[in-house]
């Protein structure tokens, strides 16, 4: 209710007249006695009084509706509980609207009423009008943001040229998953003087979270915590990041901190849930997510997270339930679709879960996890062509888990396509060596072992020897590496000239320039199997 800050200095005659009533009503309003507030405002003629009157009526209706839902007369009646005040409000507001007597706040209220009545198109128009009348009212912008579904719609709106529009656009871009544009906008806002705004920092952090740039996001969140230590907003996102990085200590610290500030907040519950989840106390975690949902049943993240917890507890039916709820709240929640797919995969329904993974993939076409999951399912169903396509695509969009190539290589190996398999292993090894992360010995040694054999078969003994030596570095492939080396030296002793082909790619030397030709499994048309 920030928009209701009273300004007694207003010069208007009516305002002065209504001032007493307004003050009284505002007090009642702040005490959530809406009907009482409305009663004392009924004769007011000033714009402010009128708005507060209408807003009290609206909130009173909403409150009654919420109370009604608890004791309705039967499970099916719950859906028909409606805010009875809406129709009357709409009738009156539309009358005044036609007469042009509404100010920015009243227009905003009119828009809210229209949206609640599912008259979305009209609502958009009214919100735009409200924004024109009162550009600095962020509430109207936010409501408008909820009604915009795509970029075309956004472009078609005529919005006032005000500095706040940039905030709106940045927010909108984040919502529409256009993270790059959003970051640009926020950066430019920082440059023009909003560098100290915690809001902007939090938004940027969330944006980085969305594109899975975890380090950047963590950095920003830590900064945010420094600047605004009692902040609870967005902390659930922060905890997600800490969870992903398994930073137990930090997460524990955050959870305790937030619980101290306010333990009955949705964000707090989510953070605590994450904390327990990380400590593998899944029952407790689920309990906290449930509490979050009790506090706000429309909290999308909590449903999905609860689904994950139930998955951990092997309670698949409850997990499915939770994910379905998440989807009901937001059909575009790819994590819930992915979670459903995983649940069914655990139940060994590989064909069945394809559908869910496909949905998830549709929502996040460039996320390799879905593609790998899809590929695995296809592999289980022995649809190897599709599986290959999936893995290759997963690699092409930037594989986060670095598993796609390995799986692809193994598939090629199975199909006796040794050249392709070798290429994949080469790229895999290059990838692994090029990044500084600690090596996973098992997988690398598998790749090396295969490559050694491959080169040996193709009589390229130098490369084979190199691979075999590398094999010897790791524990589990040492014996094989040595055996291969012996074989190579035997063959060389027999005097056969190694007919190494210079133009062939080799793993370590000439390969660093990344000119490996890989036969592309093209076209990547997953739709061939999509009904």
């Amino acid at each position: 209710m920030t928009e209701n800050n009273l300004q007694p200095l207003s010069s208007l005659q009516e305002d002065v007249q209504d001032f007493d009533a307004l003050c009284l009503a505002k007090s009642y309003f702040d005490l959530k006695e809406y009907d009482r507030a409305a009663y004392f405002l009924r004769g007011c003629s000033s714009q402010k009084g009128y708005f507060l009157y209408m807003y009290s009526c609206y909130l009173s209706g909403e409150k009654k509706k919420d109370d009604e839902t608890v004791d309705s007369l039967g499970p099916l009646e719950k859906g028909q509980v409606r805010n009875e005040a809406l129709r009357e409000l709409r009738a009156e507001l539309s009358k005044k609207h036609r007469a042009g007597e509404l100010d920015g706040f009243a227009l905003y209220l009119y828009g809210v009423v229209l949206r609640k009545l599912d008259l979305l198109k009209e609502a958009v128009d009214v919100f735009v009008e409200a924004i024109h009348a009162l550009p600095l009212h962020w509430g109207s912008w936010l409501e408008l943001c909820n009604l915009i579904t795509n970029i075309e719609m956004l472009k078609s709106l005529s919005l006032p040229d005000c500095w706040i529009k940039d905030f709106f656009l940045a927010h909108m871009y984040t919502e529409l998953q256009m993270i790059k544009e959003a970051l640009q906008k926020y950066q430019s806002l920082i440059d023009v003087g909003f560098s100290k705004s915690t809001y902007i920092i939090s938004q940027i952090a969330v944006a980085y979270h969305n594109i899975r740039d975890i380090d950047q996001a963590l950095l920003l969140f830590n900064e945010l915590r420094n600047q605004d230590p009692y902040r609870i907003e967005n902390m659930d996102t922060f905890s997600n990041l800490l969870y992903v990085r398994s930073m137990k200590a930090e997460l524990s610290f955050l959870a305790h901190d937030l619980a101290e500030i306010d333990k009955y907040r949705v964000e707090t519950c989510c953070v605590i849930g994450n904390y327990y989840s990380l400590r593998s106390q899944h029952e407790k975690a689920a309990l906290y997510f449930q509490r979050a949902l009790k506090l706000n049943p429309r909290c999308l993240g909590a449903w999905t997270l609860m689904g994950h917890e139930y998955m951990e507890m092997k309670n698949t039916s409850a997990a499915i339930q939770a994910y379905r709820h998440a989807i009901e709240v937001n059909k575009r929640d790819y994590r819930a679709w992915y979670g459903l797919g995983q649940t069914y995969e655990i139940l060994k329904l590989h064909f069945y879960c394809l559908y869910y993974y496909r949905r998830a993939h549709q929502l996040r076409p460039n996320d390799s996890r879905m593609l790998v999951a899809l590929g695995e399912c296809y592999e289980k169903l022995s649809q190897l062509v599709e599986a290959k396509k999936c893995y290759w695509r997963a690699y092409s969009v930037g594989d986060v888990e670095r598993m796609a190539l390995l799986k692809l290589a193994k598939l090629h190996e199975q199909l006796n396509e040794s050249d392709d398999a070798a290429q994949c292993y080469i790229i895999y090894i290059q990838d692994v060596y090029s990044c500084a992360e600690p090596l996973e010995h098992v997988e690398v040694s598998t790749a090396l072992r295969y490559l050694g054999q491959y080169y040996f078969k193709n009589k390229r003994y130098d490369e084979a020897a190199l691979c075999a030596q590398r094999c010897c570095d790791s524990n589990d492939a040492r014996e094989e590496g040595k055996a291969l080396l012996r074989q190579i030296s035997q063959v060389r002793e027999q005097g056969e000239a190694a007919s190494a082909d210079v133009s062939h790619p080799c793993v370590f030397g000439p390969l660093s320039n990344n000119n490996t030709p890989v036969r592309r499994v093209s076209p990547l048309d997953l739709s061939s199997v999509t009904p």
């Binding site: 499970p75 099916l76 009646e77 859906g79 379905r324 709820h325 009901e328 709240v329 139940l347 009904p531």
Partner: protein, 767 residues
């Protein structure tokens, strides 16, 4: 999206994170209607003096009133009035008293409710249906919170006002009820205002109220919703036309889901409804959604038991397979089926496995491979596990395969008879329908048109075993479509084109073009039109039909194309098409087509006057037809053979073998066959007349035969053939010296000849 937000509220009954679809465990809620029924029951118990007939009628009413969906008060009063007018009046008065008073009246009603029932001599004991209902209601009432009781009372007042046409009780209101009256007029006013507003405003609520014929104010209650869904699902299965239109039904379902997203069955009906409009996207989505929901409602934890969600998982996979099968995605269907089989095996659910098996052979069959071994296994297993439905479905499938595979007729008929016994024993009305339709098809295939007709009529006139109250006697399932198509074709064959077209109009009505079985009658309609055009010599028309037929059935289209080409004297092309057809029909899946292709090829040979080369082909066709007991085709082959012999100059021989074919042709054959056979006989008679002793008598006989032939051809409208007949008759009369008759025939010939300008050359070389 917003609507979902609104309807999603936190459920206090959530336990273990699972919100059960039927949260409160009881479906019974006290509603104004239920109170009315209670009042009625109390009155019935109280009133000792009642005519026996009235009491009996009322007693019969109790169960439907208790279990049925909520009625409006006017409907309820009308129903009661039909049984006992006095009782209706009492009921109305009692209700009015309760409504006109205040909350106390309703409370005291519930307080004293058990009294009339607990008396020892009472007819309604505690454990009776009535007693149980009463106690249920009492329990439900006692569970209500303070505000809920008040709401219930308000609802009762609305109910009364709406049911009695508004405020009739107000006139009788006493002076001391002033206060109440004020309050109640207020209530009434708001109700009226609400109604006005709703008229003004076409919100999404409006459509929800257009259910069935009765207009309802409120969304459906649980029971009503269930009833609605069951009814719609049933209608979708049996008689699509009676169900709501696809769009309207969808709107209805969306509404229902908006009010109660947990109502899983609605998703299933959505799935059925989307299948109706061939929308794979929505149907897959809804099916999976339904099973996601179903898994929740099943008891959790027991993943492998017979009950619990392991079971629904298996059936989920199976249903997915069925869905893909329906959309002809055979590979997908197979994958889904394999999955279903695997998990069914893991949990050793034989019933589910059995279902999978029957789908497996269906799938194999649809894919075109031989699945008889699988089917036999399936039947054996189904019999072992006592699943009569699957067993006889398997047998029917076997019969179908056997029929095309050349099993002897008596075996097939025996099998069908055995399954029929099974059906009647278990009242499997669906399978009875299928069985009759199958028998019709079998008889038709064997060329016994009368028997086919009789079986078809049997199905159409049979009283359905399904519940009578839906008023569905002749529903629009596949068997009916098949039978009606057969009937149409049979009528057309007998030259009764009016009747045939009437049947087709009926089919069009019953199975609108977008529905699943519409293809059947479309093909049938096209075939009839094609035959007519061919008989009439309008080949260009027939050519147009060919493309349409080819779209519906590839082989049939090719065959008809060959016929048209042959008729247009484009023998080379025709021969090419026939070769292709022969290759197609060689896998033994369609013997009928194979025989027909041979016959047509033989006719092509005739055109090049190589009658001798046609003979081996015809003999092969005859052997094949006899082997498969295709009597109609066998007789037709004999006609062809006889014709070849006639042309080769052995009319006596021809007459000999014709004797054999004449009887079945005249008994069962189509008009065209009859005409052709008689014409051939007449020609043979003419040919042998020269060598016969009494030439005159022989010729007279031929003339007589030709007379009969002419009637057949004229009924069919084969003008070219008719012209030939008249020509022959004129020649014969001329030979016999009957000048007036000769002139008459000549005149007929001349008229027809003028009509048929184009076809100047007489194709001698045809039957």
């Amino acid at each position: 999206m917003a609507s979902v937000h609104e309807s999603l509220y936190f459920n206090p009954m959530m336990t273990n994170g699972v919100v059960h679809a039927n949260v409160f465990g009881i479906k019974d809620w006290v509603t104004p209607y239920k109170i009315s029924v209670l009042v009625l029951l109390v009155e019935m118990v109280k009133s000792k003096r009642m005519a026996l007939i009235e009491r009996r009628r009322l007693n019969k009413l109790i169960l439907p009133l208790q279990q049925g969906p909520d009625l409006t008060l006017s409907q309820l009063l009308k129903t009661v009035e039909e049984c006992a007018p006095k009782m209706a009046a009492t009921l109305k008065i009692k209700l009015r008293d309760m409504v006109a008073g205040n909350l106390r009246d309703m409370e005291s009603f519930f307080d004293t409710l058990p009294n009339p029932f607990s008396e020892s001599e009472s007819e309604a004991s505690k454990t009776s249906v009535v007693g149980l209902f009463m106690r249920h209601m009492l329990l439900a009432y006692n569970k209500l919170s303070f505000s809920q009781v008040y709401k219930l009372y308000i609802a009762l007042q609305h109910y009364y006002v709406a049911g009695t046409g508004g405020g009739t009780w107000r006139s009788t209101a006493d002076v001391d009820m002033d206060l109440n009256e004020m309050e109640l007029t207020g209530v009434e006013d708001t109700a009226g205002a609400k109604a006005e507003k709703e008229e003004l405003d076409t919100g999404p609520m409006q459509e929800a109220e257009l259910i069935d014929e009765s207009q309802r104010r409120c969304p459906l209650s649980q029971k009503q919703a269930e009833y609605f869904l069951v009814r719609q699902a049933y209608l979708l299965k049996t008689d699509e036309n009676k169900a709501l239109k696809a769009a309207a039904l969808q709107e209805e379902l969306n509404n229902m889901l908006k009010f109660n997203p947990d109502f899983a069955e609605a998703h299933y009906v959505t799935y059925l409804n989307s299948m109706r409009v061939q929308d794979i996207y929505t149907s897959t989505h809804s099916l999976l959604h339904y099973f996601d929901r179903l898994i929740l409602t099943g008891s959790d934890g027991k993943s492998n038991g017979d009950e619990g969600y392991g079971r629904s998982l298996r059936y989920a996979a199976l249903n997915l397979a069925a869905l893909h099968c329906r959309f002809a995605h055979y590979q997908q269907a197979e994958l889904a089926l394999q999955e279903a089989i695997r998990i069914a095996q893991e949990s050793s659910d034989h019933v589910c496995l059995q279902h999978c098996l029957s789908w497996l052979y269906t799938l194999e069959h649809m894919k075109g491979s031989d699945s008889s071994v699988l089917t036999e296994d399936s039947v054996k297993m189904a019999a072992h596990f006592c699943l009569p439905y699957l067993a006889s479905l398997g047998i029917q499938s076997l019969v179908q395969q056997g029929a095309t595979g050349g099993k002897t007729a008596n075996k097939l008929m025996d099998a069908l008879k055995d399954t029929d016994i099974l059906h009647w024993k278990h009242s499997l009305s669906e399978l009875i329908d299928i069985s009759l339709a199958q028998t019709t098809s079998l008889w038709r295939m064997y060329g016994k048109s009368t028997m086919a007709q009789q079986q078809a009529q049997l199905l159409l006139n049979m009283n359905s075993l399904e519940q009578v109250n839906y008023g569905v006697q002749q529903n629009n399932t596949e068997p009916f479509a098949v039978v009606l198509c057969h009937l149409a074709e049979l009528h057309a064959q007998q030259g009764l084109f009016g009747a045939a077209s009437e049947i087709l109009t009926h089919l069009k009505q019953q199975f609108p073009p977008h529905t699943q079985h519409a293809k059947l009658w479309m093909l049938c309609d096209l075939k009839i039109q094609f035959e007519r055009a061919m008989n009439d010599g309008k080949y260009h028309q027939a050519e147009a039909q060919v493309t349409a037929i080819a779209a519906l059935s590839e082989t049939e289209g090719l065959y008809r194309k060959a016929l048209v080409l042959k008729a247009q004297n484009r023998s080379g092309e025709a021969y090419g098409v026939l070769q292709r057809l022969q290759a197609l029909s060689e896998d033994g899946r369609s013997t009928e087509m194979a025989v027909r292709v041979m016959l047509t090829t033989a006719e092509l040979h005739w055109e090049s006057s190589s009658f001798t080369t046609a003979l081996p082909l015809l003999l092969r066709a005859l052997a094949l037809a006899r082997q498969h007991h295709l009597q109609a085709l066998a007789s037709e082959t004999i006609l062809h053979l006889a014709f070849s012999q006639l042309m080769l100059g052995v009319p006596e021989q021809a007459l000999n073998i014709l004797q054999e074919a004449m009887e079945p042709v005249l008994a069962h054959g189509s008009l065209l066959d009859k005409g052709r056979a008689l014409l051939l006989v007449a020609k043979c008679q003419m040919a042998v007349a020269d060598r016969a002793g009494d030439r005159h008598a022989a010729l007279e006989l031929a003339v007589h035969t030709l007379d009969e032939t002419a009637t057949y051809f004229s009924r069919l409208g084969c003008r070219e053939r008719l012209r030939e007949v008249y020509y022959l008759q004129a020649r014969l009369h001329h030979l016999l010296g009957h000048t007036p008759q000769r002139n008459k025939c000549a005149m007929h010939f001349r008229m027809l000849d003028q009509e048929l300008q184009g076809g100047g050359t007489q194709p001698v070389t045809r039957l």
